[in-house]
C-alpha cells in the first residue's frame, strides 16, 4: 500500500489523487497545525518539511510524496516530554507572533533555514554580501524567510528569534 511517513508514522495515501498534502493533513489526518493562507504558494503558511527540505504543502499532491518523510509543526517538538524546539522557545521569548496564523509555517521554515545556513547553501543576499559590508546575517535571514508572509508584521521579532537560535547553536 502506498504510504508516506508523517512525523514518524506511516500513513496511507488518500484515494483521490487530487488531494494536496495540505488538504490531506486537514481533512484526512485532522492535523490543523499547518495553515492554509492562500492555497496558491503565495504566503508560506502551509510550509512543512519533506525529506529535510521545506516546501509549500498547498502546491503538492500527497501522492507526489509517496515514501517521503514529512514533518509538520506537530512533529517538531522533541521526545516524550514534548519539549519545545529551541526555535519554538525563541519565538515565545521574542514575541515573534501576534495572531499566530503564520507561525507554524514560520517555524518549519526557520528550522530548515538553520540547516541551509549550516550547509552554506547560497542565497540572493550571500551574493552581494561582500560588495556591501553592511549586508548582515539579518538581511540574509530576511531573504531566506521571504517565502513566509506575516500579516501582523512580526518580521523583526521573527528574525530576532532565528538569530538567537543561530547564536545558541554556535555556543
Amino acid at each position: 500500500m502506498a504510504t508516506l511517513n508523517l512525523n514518524g508514522k506511516d500513513v496511507s495515501l488518500p484515494d483521490d489523487p487530487r488531494t494536496t498534502l495540505l488538504d490531506f493533513l486537514h481533512q484526512h489526518l485532522s492535523l490543523f497545525g499547518t495553515k492554509k493562507g492562500c492555497d496558491h504558494g503565495q504566503c508560506g503558511a502551509c510550509t512543512v518539511i519533506a525529506d529535510g527540505e521545506r516546501i509549500n504543502a498547498c502546491l503538492v499532491f500527497a501522492f507526489q510524496l509517496e515514501d517521503a518523510e514529512v514533518t509538520t509543526i506537530e512533529g517538531i517538538g522533541n521526545g516524550a516530554d514534548e519539549a519545545l524546539h529551541p526555535l519554538q522557545q525563541a519565538f515565545i521569548e521574542r514575541d515573534a507572533f501576534q495572531c499566530g496564523y503564520c507561525t507554524s509555517g514560520q517555524i518549519c521554515s526557520g528550522i530548515s533555514l538553520l540547516r541551509e545556513l549550516s550547509n552554506e547553501d547560497p542565497s540572493a543576499v550571500t551574493y552581494s554580501r561582500s560588495r556591501n559590508s553592511t549586508a548582515s546575517l539579518k538581511e540574509d535571514i530576511s531573504e531566506r524567510m521571504s517565502g513566509n508572509l506575516c500579516r501582523c508584521g512580526a518580521y523583526p521579532n521573527i528574525v530576532d528569534a532565528i538569530t538567537d537560535v543561530i547564536a545558541l547553536e554556535k555556543q
Binding site: 489523487p17 487530487r18 494536496t20 492555497d39 496558491h40 504558494g41 508560506g44 510550509t47 527540505e53 521545506r54 516546501i55 509549500n56 502546491l59 503538492v60 499532491f61 501522492f63 507526489q64 510524496l65 509517496e66 521554515s109 530548515s112 533555514l113 541551509e116 547553501d121 547560497p122 542565497s123 540572493a124 551574493y127 552581494s128 554580501r129 561582500s130 560588495r131 556591501n132 530576511s142 531573504e143 531566506r144 521571504s146 517565502g147
Partner: protein, 341 residues
C-alpha cells in the same frame, strides 16, 4: 479541481505506454500546474507524474558540457551553479526567483514551461486568448503593468515569467527531448519559445507528447556576471525588468558578451539587436544607450507598462557599466560581480 487519470513515469518504461495528447500533462514539481488546476485554468484529463523518475534528478558534466536533468530542483541547480564560476549568472537568476520552499519543488523543465502570470489568464471569468483561444485579450486595453513590450501581438501581450530561463537564454542552453516513438531532439532554448502571433496558447515548439529529458549548457568562460532583477518588492516577486549579463573585456573592448532580458518579452528575451551594437565595442554610456535604442526600436507599450523601456535602459546601463568596470580592474575575473570585488 477536475478529476484526472494518473500515471507514473519512472524512466524505465516507454512513453508509448501513456495516453499522451493535448489533454494530458506531465507533472513535475507541480508548483505551477497544480495552482492552475485548482483554478481550472488547466483541466488535464491525464496526468503523468514524473516524481518517480529518479534518473532525471542528476547533474553531470564532461569536458565540454553540463547536463542538467529535467527534474533537478531549482534549489539543487542553484547550489551547483554557485560552485561553477562560469554559471554564476544561472545561480543568481535562480536565487532571485520565488522562495526557498518553491525552489525546493520547482524543477528545471517545469521552470522553462511555467505559464504566464497575466492576471486575466488566471481569472476564468475574463476573456483570454491564451487560456481560451478566440475569446480576446483582456490585458491589451486594460491593466498591463506587468506585461511585455517585445514580441507581443494584438492577440496576447503576456510575459514569460521565468528568471532561470533568462539566464539559460544568455548561456545558450539546449533543450533535449524524447517522444513516444523513441525519437530524441535537441532544440536551442533561443529557438524553443514561440511568440504569441495569433496562437498565444501555443508557447513553444514541443509536441503534446514530447518530454524534456535534460538541458545542456556548453562550458565556456563568461567573465564577470550579473543578474539584476527589478521588481515591486525585494524578494518573492516576479521581475518587472531583469537583465542577465556576462562580459569579458579585452584591450578595453567587448570580447565576449552574453546577454538576455526578463520581464519584458513574451518569451525570455534574447536581444540580438543590442548585442550586435555591443560586440567589439568599448562599453560607454553612449554605446549602451545605442544598444538599448536598437533593441527598443521594435518595442511596443500598452499604457500601464509605458515605464518599461526606460526602466530597461537604466537597468542595462547599470549592469553593463558595473561589470565592465570590474572587468577592467580584474581582466581574468570569472564569476559573480560581487564575489571578490
Amino acid at each position: 479541481m477536475q478529476p484526472f487519470n494518473l500515471h507514473h513515469y519512472n524512466g524505465d518504461t516507454s512513453l508509448d505506454n501513456f495516453p499522451l495528447s493535448n489533454t494530458s500533462r506531465f507533472l513535475a514539481g507541480g508548483t505551477n500546474l497544480i495552482d492552475l488546476m485548482k483554478l481550472q485554468v488547466e483541466t488535464p484529463e491525464t496526468l503523468v507524474s514524473l516524481a518517480k523518475w529518479e534518473k532525471a534528478n542528476a547533474i553531470t558534466e564532461d569536458d565540454n558540457h553540463y547536463y542538467i536533468g529535467a527534474m533537478v530542483s531549482n534549489s539543487d541547480l542553484a547550489k551547483f551553479a554557485h560552485t561553477q564560476p562560469a554559471l554564476s549568472i544561472l545561480a543568481q537568476a535562480l536565487l532571485s526567483g520565488a522562495t526557498v520552499q518553491l525552489r525546493n519543488r520547482a524543477t528545471t523543465a517545469g521552470n522553462l514551461l511555467q505559464r504566464t502570470r497575466c492576471y486575466y489568464f488566471y481569472d476564468t471569468t475574463k476573456a483570454c486568448n491564451k487560456r481560451e483561444p478566440g475569446t480576446g485579450c483582456s490585458a491589451i486595453n486594460s491593466m498591463n503593468r506587468i506585461h511585455a513590450i517585445f514580441g507581443t501581438s494584438e492577440h496576447c501581450i503576456a510575459t514569460h515569467p521565468s528568471d532561470m530561463a533568462v539566464a539559460m537564454m544568455a548561456l545558450n542552453a539546449q533543450v533535449h527531448t524524447q517522444q513516444p516513438n523513441g525519437n530524441t531532439r535537441q532544440i536551442a532554448l533561443r529557438d524553443f519559445y514561440r511568440e504569441p502571433g495569433d496562437t498565444p496558447h501555443i508557447e513553444n515548439h514541443l509536441e503534446d507528447d514530447e518530454l524534456i529529458t535534460h538541458i545542456s549548457i556548453e562550458k565556456k568562460a563568461n567573465g564577470t556576471q550579473y543578474y539584476h532583477k527589478v521588481r515591486d518588492r525585494s524578494s518573492y516577486a516576479f521581475a518587472l525588468v531583469s537583465v542577465a549579463a556576462g562580459l569579458k573585456i579585452d584591450d578595453g573592448r567587448v570580447k565576449d558578451l552574453t546577454l538576455a532580458f526578463g520581464g519584458v518579452g513574451t518569451k525570455p528575451w534574447y536581444p540580438q539587436k543590442a548585442i550586435r551594437v555591443l560586440e567589439g565595442a568599448e562599453i560607454t554610456p553612449e554605446v549602451i544607450s545605442q544598444a538599448a535604442e536598437a533593441e527598443l526600436s521594435s518595442a511596443k507599450t500598452y499604457g500601464s507598462n509605458d515605464f518599461k523601456p526606460e526602466l530597461l535602459r537604466r537597468t542595462l546601463e547599470k549592469v553593463l557599466l558595473e561589470i565592465a568596470e570590474h572587468q577592467e580592474k580584474h581582466p581574468e575575473h570569472e564569476g559573480a560581480l560581487y564575489d571578490n570585488a
